[in-house]
């Protein structure tokens, strides 16, 4: 199996409901925020951000942008910097993997990530009494002092591979592997698939004229594509000097 998994997120469909954030947290055993946590110290491997065009009144436009690890495919910034190989790109899937068990917590990868999609466990993970029973047994809980991020719900990929192996197949059924955020999105804004497969609708969508990637000029080949028919939203792809914008974390 040699795939290149990625997302295409239709921003015109995203309502900013946050279902993807909740589903991601539940699937990946992300603990509730510590009492002293702030938007800058929380754990949000999937974070919906609200961005406006900076105008007022009738000219104002807003868009919600779900931000997770972009799983960069070229000179992946976080991989080369990690001093102890706790980050790697899985050649079979293109997924950028984080191994919290090996992470020293130096946070060099966080400074390297242009998308700020990496999160540090500033507190010991803790769940209210009884809530620990809802933990997902397929995903290990991370300890304090290590970095984590989106791994495209790797636990689900393992389950799909086990199912395929049990059925005597080498390839997984695409329907068996859908990350939690894509599954939970009520408007179908988040779609997931194999970008290397020409027949995959996600691969088609990634090549549509409305598709763009954030900071593509950095040449890191992110595998998360965004789509919008609005020109000002597509203009968010790269930083320009004279474009006003406002942002609010979702």
């Amino acid at each position: 199996m040699s795939a290149r998994y990625g997302f295409v997120i239709d921003l015109d469909r995203c309502t900013g409901c946050g279902a993807c954030m909740v589903a991601c947290a539940a699937e990946n055993n992300v603990p509730p925020a510590a009492p002293r946590a702030t938007p800058r110290t929380g754990l949000t491997p999937m974070l919906v951000r609200k961005v406006s065009n900076g105008m007022d009144g009738i000219a104002r436009r807003e868009v919600f942008i779900p931000i997770a690890c972009m799983h960069c495919g070229n000179e992946t910034p976080c991989v080369s910097v990690c001093p102890q190989q706790a980050v790697e790109v899985d050649k079979a899937t293109g997924i950028v993997m984080q191994m919290p068990q090996r992470c020293l917590g130096c946070r060099y990868c966080m400074t390297a990530c242009p998308y700020h999609a990496r999160y540090f466990n500033w507190w010991d993970p803790a769940w209210p009494t009884g809530m620990e029973k809802s933990l997902n047994p397929a995903v290990a809980v991370r300890m304090r002092g290590v970095v984590e991020k989106c791994n495209m719900c790797h636990g689900r990929l393992h389950s799909a591979m086990e199912k395929a192996a049990a059925a005597g197949r080498r390839e997984i059924d695409p329907a068996d592997y859908v990350p939690a955020c894509a599954e939970a999105c009520p408007t179908g804004a988040i779609t997931f698939g194999n970008l290397a497969d020409d027949k995959d609708p996600v691969s088609h969508a990634a090549h549509s004229p409305d598709a763009f990637r954030l900071l593509a000029k950095l040449d890191t080949e992110p595998k998360v594509y965004f789509k919008s028919q609005q020109a000002w939203v597509r203009g968010l792809a790269d930083r320009e000097s004279d474009r006003p914008s406002e942002v609010q974390n979702g």
Partner: protein, 420 residues
């Protein structure tokens, strides 16, 4: 108390005058309190986690990394002076060599101690040696700094073992004698290791493709900041030695080294700083016109965010770059102690500002088109740990000065000659 005074006297070398034991204890008290506070703050961070700091997911590196980069640059005097004395045979700098080793040891051990608090899982520090990623600048930094710290300890041991009481132990004397033979080798090894880790500290940010403010093109696998850091550290190391020794002279009221040593160190520092400033200016021009634009960023936009405007860049290159070059090299000023000290202080400030810009300003600046500019103010725990390390340095230097032959090789100084 009387016993303590006698004991103190026994450890002080014969023929040198030192302040009374009581006065020395009073001098140490505030620094010991600061070390205690630093240890308490560090313990809070280790026990409760890094939530005790004001770092966050965007400002993942903070004051401590700045402190590390700054201290390691200032501590470069140790390797560079050793290189000058033992490899380039500049024997007239020998009187300041022991002081350089102590300063280097303080800077490097302090930096390593802070790093141990700064990482989320200090007990996993050995993972870097067991699973090294040879592509990471941080791996090179970790290996070289650890090795160099051992080299510094080995270089410090002969100084330590020359203490009046320790010399009475025959095996120590033999050990010191044997170590002394190794010192030129250690100096060469120290220079080699330092060359790489000083450079890798520059490469640490220079390789960050995702941070266009810091990202630099380079030669082979090394970004330009790799080379700039090596030269800047070599330039500022001697300047910091001048400042430390001058401060020690002011505090003790004694002349510790001949003024020719200051002049020579200042001149070396000034010339290297001149080379650094020229290369830094070229590097900045290349970054402004080529590197930054190639990845879709208008470079002057980075300077639009206050309080860090373009003024910082010009301050770094002109008053804290070119000015000390002139002060330390021009015949008119380099012969005057006051101007040399002023030049050394400006040079050190310039390099510290450079490290600040690279570590703190880089993280404050937005990268994504809809990112905002961030502020970060360190917590009291971060500041206290920082002050604790400074205080530890003062204590180690004070103890070394009192009980060890720090400037002993310089005849006619360090007796009881008050500075005029």
């Amino acid at each position: 108390m009387a016993d303590l005074v006698v004991l103190d006297r026994r450890f002080i070398a014969r023929g040198v005058e030192r302040s009374s034991a009581l006065r020395f204890m009073f001098w140490l008290v505030p620094w010991v309190i600061l070390v205690g506070l630093g240890i308490y703050a560090a313990a809070l961070c280790l026990f409760y986690g890094l939530n005790q700091t004001n770092m966050d997911n965007r400002f993942a590196f903070g004051m401590w990394i700045y402190l590390d980069l700054g201290m390691i640059a200032l501590g470069a005097g140790a390797f560079f002076t050793g290189f000058l004395v033992y490899i380039l045979k500049q024997e007239d700098l020998k009187p300041i060599l022991n002081s350089a080793v102590v300063v280097g040891l303080i800077c490097y051990s302090g930096a390593v101690a802070v790093l141990m608090v700064d990482v989320g899982q200090p007990l996993r520090a050995w993972f870097t040696f067991w699973h090294p990623n040879t592509h990471s600048m941080l791996t090179e930094v970790t290996f070289c700094i650890t090795c160099y710290l051992f080299v510094l300890i080995l270089e410090y041991l002969p100084v330590l073992l020359r203490n009046r009481q320790l010399r009475k132990v025959p095996s120590f004397l033999v050990f010191e004698h044997q170590l002394h033979k190794l010192v030129p080798v250690l100096a060469g090894l120290g220079a080699f290791l330092s060359f790489f880790h000083q450079g890798s500290l520059g490469g640490l940010y220079g390789v960050l493709r995702g941070r266009p403010f810091a990202f630099r093109q380079g030669f082979a696998i090394w970004p330009s900041t790799f080379f700039l850091f090596i030269i800047s550290a070599m330039a500022v190391g001697p300047s910091f030695l001048i400042l430390v020794t001058a401060t020690a002279e002011a505090v003790t009221g004694r002349k510790l080294v001949q003024s020719t040593v200051f002049r020579k160190l200042g001149r070396i520092s000034g010339i290297l700083l001149g080379v650094y400033v020229a290369l830094k200016a070229i590097d900045t021009l290349v970054w402004l016109n080529v590197t930054s634009r190639a990845v879709g960023f208008a470079p002057w936009d980075f300077y639009a965010y206050k309080p860090f405007g373009s003024a910082l860049l010009f301050i770094e290159i002109l008053p804290l770059g070119l000015l000390p070059v002139f002060l330390l090299t021009l015949p008119m000023t380099s012969k005057r102690r006051g101007w040399v000290l002023c030049g050394a202080a400006l040079a050190c400030s310039g390099i510290l500002l450079n490290r600040f810009v690279l570590t703190v300003q880089t993280l404050a600046l937005p990268t994504l088109p809809f990112d905002e500019y961030l502020q970060y103010i360190p917590s009291w725990q971060e500041v206290a740990t920082f002050l604790g390390v400074i205080a530890y340095g003062v204590i180690l230097y004070s103890l070394s000065y009192r009980y060890l032959p720090m400037f002993g090789q310089s005849k006619g100084v360090d007796k009881n000659v008050p500075v005029g």
